[in-house]
Structures are given as structure tokens and as C-alpha cells.
Amino acid sequence: MSSSSTLTLPFDETRRRGGALSELLSSDMPRSRALSLILLAILVVLAATPFLFPGSQPIGTAAKICVFIVLVASYDLLLGYSGIVSFAHTMFFGIGGYGIAIALERLGPTWSSVAVGLLAALALSAVLAVAIGLLSLRVRAIFFSMITLAVASAAAVLASQLSNITGGEDGLSFQLPPALRPAFRLLSEPLFGTAVNGRLVAYYLVFFVALLVFLMLLRIVNSPFGRVLQAIRENEFRAEALGYRVVAYRTAASVISALAATVAGALMALWLRYNGPDTTLSFSIMIDILLMVVIGGMGTMYGAVIGAALFVLAQSYLQVLMEAGSTALAGVPLLPNLIHPDRWLLWLGALFVISVYAFPGGIVGRLRQARQ
């Protein structure tokens, strides 16, 4: 559960390096050249996707990566930094999505509906996170996990049962405010050959909100508060004896994490113009989040960026790649069948087992270790 397998830090973390970048990254630098380059590449590609790749699939994938970076980073705050194992994270993701969907569908496609939906969702998430936290963070970790599982299942059932509000299994489709619609033109002329329309505005809304929330989470884990969370993760008993109210800190971490997940859900719904159980509430997303955190590297925040980018890319393009391979190998016995696109989940699973086995500290942990 620990972020650092090293016992002696290779650098002096107490020393303040000046500079705006260090300030922006809350003094938590990537500390590995390869990691810095990968993060920079992800940032640049995400920022320029609409201009780099034509068509709707790349930009959709990029938007999903942005959303999942926030979702996974907020889960890392819980799992990696606080040592809390919660299975209710998709519930908060779903609340964000339904907040936007219900408000826009009922109140009409305006910015004030977006605000009302988001604020209502944030409030509901905060209340639920406090309730779960106060009721159950006192009990043993395993019971807490079970309780979150039960609450999340109840929420999923509720969302599908209240079909006149949530649209049930079909979910809700809705109209966006005019500025986010494809027909909207910010500039009359295309920029670098790309039409600057409402879709582009929507993408950059997702991109910048995600970036802002990620930097905020990075700041929080590197604040005195974040340090207390790590202390509680290491030795809860001692943290309490030092005068830190463990239950209050854990509850606060749950609330912050839930709020960030809610924002991610709202972004997802805004991007898809739709929200349903399969896009934000399903348990399979919960599993995806867990995998992304572990693959990227728990307790590192940057792991969320890499984990989300890799996973979403694999989800979107592994099948395409396998299709190509399968066709190319037609005629060869067994092989085309083995890499048939229908087998993509099998290969994804194998890749993850291997990567978790090979890099127990995740990709970020591996890269940082390599530097020493």
C-alpha cells in the first residue's frame, strides 16, 4: 500500500526549489526524466488532439482520458494516499453524471441548469461521503469496503428503478447549452484546418476543468493535510496518538475524493450528451479505476495520468490493432484466432497481470526507481 519502497529518499524533499513549475506541481516533481517526458507528451497530445487527429473518435478518446485522469486521481487520494479501499467511487461519478443529465433534461439546455445540476450533485455527494465516512470509517478496513460495496450497489439499483427520473437502464439523453453544440461557431474560419465549433469548446471545457482539478488534487496530497493522510495510512494508531483525529481526516479525504469524482461524472455527461448506468455507474468502471490506479502507481498522482491514458487508449484501440493483426495473419493456423478482436479483454487482462507482477509500484514507481 506504500508509495515508496525506498527507505532512504534519493532527494531532499524538504528543500524548496523555486520556479513556477514547482509551485504549480506543489513541489511534487515527477523526479524522473522518462516520467517527465511521458507526462509532457500526454499533456501536449491531449491539449492539441482536436488539431492533430481528425474525426470524432480521437477527440472522444482524449476527452475520456481527461475525465478518467480526474476520476482515477481522486481515487488515488483515497486508496494510495489514505489507504482507504472504497468501492463506491463510481457512485459519486454517477451522481455527477445524473446531476447534469437530469438538470439539463428537466430545466432546459442552459448554463444555469449546468450549475444547478453540478451543485446539487456536489451537495449530494458530500452528504453521502460524510455519512459513509462517519458511520463506517471507525470500523475495520474490510468492513468499510463491504459497506461501500453495499451502498454502491444500492445506488445502482436505485438509479435503474427510478426510471422516470433517471431514464432507468436506457439513461438520459439531453441537449447541451448552445455554446457546446456542434452547430455553434466560435470562429467563422477554421483554425489549422479544424472548425472551431461547440464540440471544440466542449472538449476544452473538459480538458481545462480536468487539468485544474488534477492540479488541485496534487496540491491537496502535498499539503500538511495530505501528509496527515499518509501518516494515517502508515500507522493509524500512532497518528491518533499524535493528536490527529483519524476519523475526521479520513472522512475529509472521502469527501474531497467524492467531490472530484462528481466533477468527473459531470464532465463525462457533458461530453457524451448522455448519462446512463453503463457510462458512469456500472461496477465494471469501478474495476477499471482500480486497475488504472494500480498500473499507474498508487500514491503518486502522476500514476493516475499514465494509468488512465494507457487504459483508455487500450480500450479504444486494442481491438482495432488486433483486427489488423488478425487479418494480416489470415491463413496461418491458430494465430488469427488468438488475436481475434473478440479476444481483446483476454489480452488486456494478460497485459495487466504481467504489468502488476513486473512493476508492483506501478509505472511511476518503476520509472522513479530506474533513476536512482
Binding site: L9, D12, E23, S26, P224, R227, Q230, A231, A241, L242
Partner: protein, 253 residues
């Protein structure tokens, strides 16, 4: 003088077993009280009742006139109770400096700051460094407890207690398991704490020479009950103590 700490009829039962039995005792500032007794006498349990890791079956714990019997350990710490543990109890993967800095941060009540970077609080880091200097661990500040020797871990445990600047210091066998040449450092630290402030110090210790040299007062626990209380020389000399509890240990030392 008003006591800094008082227990009134403090009792805890585990089923039929009474681990601490009706212990009433006052501890005044500027006094180092040694708590002695054979293994299983209830010394550590008595500590756990005072610092809140265990809840008393009956009786009260009073700090500075306030009844804190119902409070959580963290709340008691914030009222000036400081505890070093018998079995080393640190943050194993964080650096020695971070271990101490967390104690300083708690003392400064700075844990709820969410939006500033932790290392901009230079004051907390400097204070933690000064404490490490005091326990002679400054050169090991970037090493995590897991990789420290047992003796250094014990010193770090004392460092955390010093960093919290409590009004009441509770040491539970601070020299247990230490090598002979490391013991004097810790004893000096405890002596130093006693000299520098009018702190109330409680010390559970088995080594009778340590008890004799440091304490102003000795209380004896046996089967959970307080059976002797007084000046060190007087308590050690009392026949009941000699025979029943200290005889073996005195001769062993």
C-alpha cells in the same frame, strides 16, 4: 499544588480479570514518578487508560482539572498528554524527519491546511530538525524507521514525544531492548526534560538503577492495584516491595 494529572478509582476489567484495580493517584508538575511492578502488574494498561487507548470500566482520568475519561486519544493529546510507546510505534516508511515533523505539525495544529504545500512551512521543518538534533539523530533525518537500528528507533520515539511538547510525558520502558552504550543518551534526554521544564513525567521502567537515579517518587503496582507510593529510597527499602516485587530485579541489576 494542583495535580497536572489525576486518576480516581481507575479500573478496567477484561471479563473476570481486573487488570487495573481502583488506582487513585495524583501527579504534580516538576515531578518524575516511576511506576514499577512485576510483569503483568498493569503498568502499561494503566498508561493505556490514561492516554485513551483503552476505555476504563470505571473511574476517572483528570488532566488540569478537566475530566477527560470519555475523550478519544487524539483529544487527550491535544490537552497535553504525551505518550511514548513501549513497543516502537512509528511511521515505518516515512523519513525520521517526517516522523518528527508530523508531531510538530500536530502541535502547531496545522493539519487542516489543504491548499498550501507542506514544505512551505519552514518553521515546522526547522523545529523538527532541532528535535532530531537533540536526540542525536540529525544525520539520519532522511532514513525511514524501518532501516534504523532498534536503539535509533527508540530515540525517534522519544523525539516524537519531545516534539509534541506535552505537559505530561509518559515513557513506557524507554530503554527496553537498547544496547548498553545507547541507554545513557535516552536517560540524559529524560533528565533534560525534567530539568528544563516543570513537566510532569511518568516513567515505567524495569531497570532499578535507572529508577533510582531519575525518579522523585515511586509508585508500585501489583495485580493491578497500587500497593506502595513514596520517596524512592523509602519505597525501595520497604520490606513488602523488596520481597515481593523488587527483590529479584535489584539482585539482577
Amino acid at each position: 499544588m494542583t495535580p497536572a494529572l489525576e486518576t480516581r478509582g481507575l479500573t478496567i476489567r477484561f471479563g473476570g480479570h481486573v487488570a487495573v484495580n481502583d488506582v487513585s493517584c495524583r501527579f504534580t508538575p516538576g515531578t518524575l514518578t516511576a511506576i514499577v511492578g512485576p510483569n503483568g502488574a498493569g503498568k502499561t494498561t494503566y498508561f493505556n487508560l490514561i492516554s485513551g487507548q483503552l476505555r476504563a470500566t470505571s473511574g476517572q482520568v483528570i488532566v488540569g482539572g478537566e475530566d477527560i475519561t470519555g475523550l478519544a486519544p487524539s483529544a487527550r493529546t491535544r490537552r497535553g498528554l504525551g505518550r511514548a510507546f513501549q513497543l516502537t510505534n512509528l511511521f515505518p516508511q516515512l523519513t525520521a524527519l517526517e516522523n518528527v515533523r508530523l508531531a510538530v505539525q500536530s502541535r502547531a495544529d496545522a493539519g487542516w491546511s489543504l491548499f498550501r504545500v507542506w514544505n512551505t512551512r519552514r518553521d515546522l521543518i526547522e523545529k523538527a530538525e532541532a528535535v532530531l538534533e537533540r536526540v542525536r539523530l540529525a544525520d539520519k533525518r532522511h532514513i525511514a524507521p524501518k532501516a534504523l537500528s532498534h536503539g535509533d528507533q527508540r530515540k525517534l520515539e522519544v523525539a516524537l514525544l519531545i516534539a509534541m511538547e506535552p505537559k505530561i510525558f509518559m515513557f513506557d520502558e524507554p530503554t527496553a531492548g537498547m544496547s548498553v552504550d545507547e541507554v545513557p543518551t535516552v536517560l540524559e534526554l529524560i533528565h533534560d526534560i525534567k530539568q528544563r521544564s516543570d513537566a510532569t513525567v511518568l516513567l515505567v521502567e524495569h531497570k532499578m538503577d535507572v529508577v533510582r537515579s531519575l525518579s522523585d517518587r515511586i509508585i508500585v503496582l501489583h495485580n493491578g492495584a497500587l500497593v506502595a507510593d513514596g520517596e524512592p529510597a523509602e519505597v525501595i527499602a520497604s520490606p513488602v516491595v523488596q520481597e515481593a516485587y523488587l527483590g529479584v530485579e535489584v539482585s539482577r541489576d
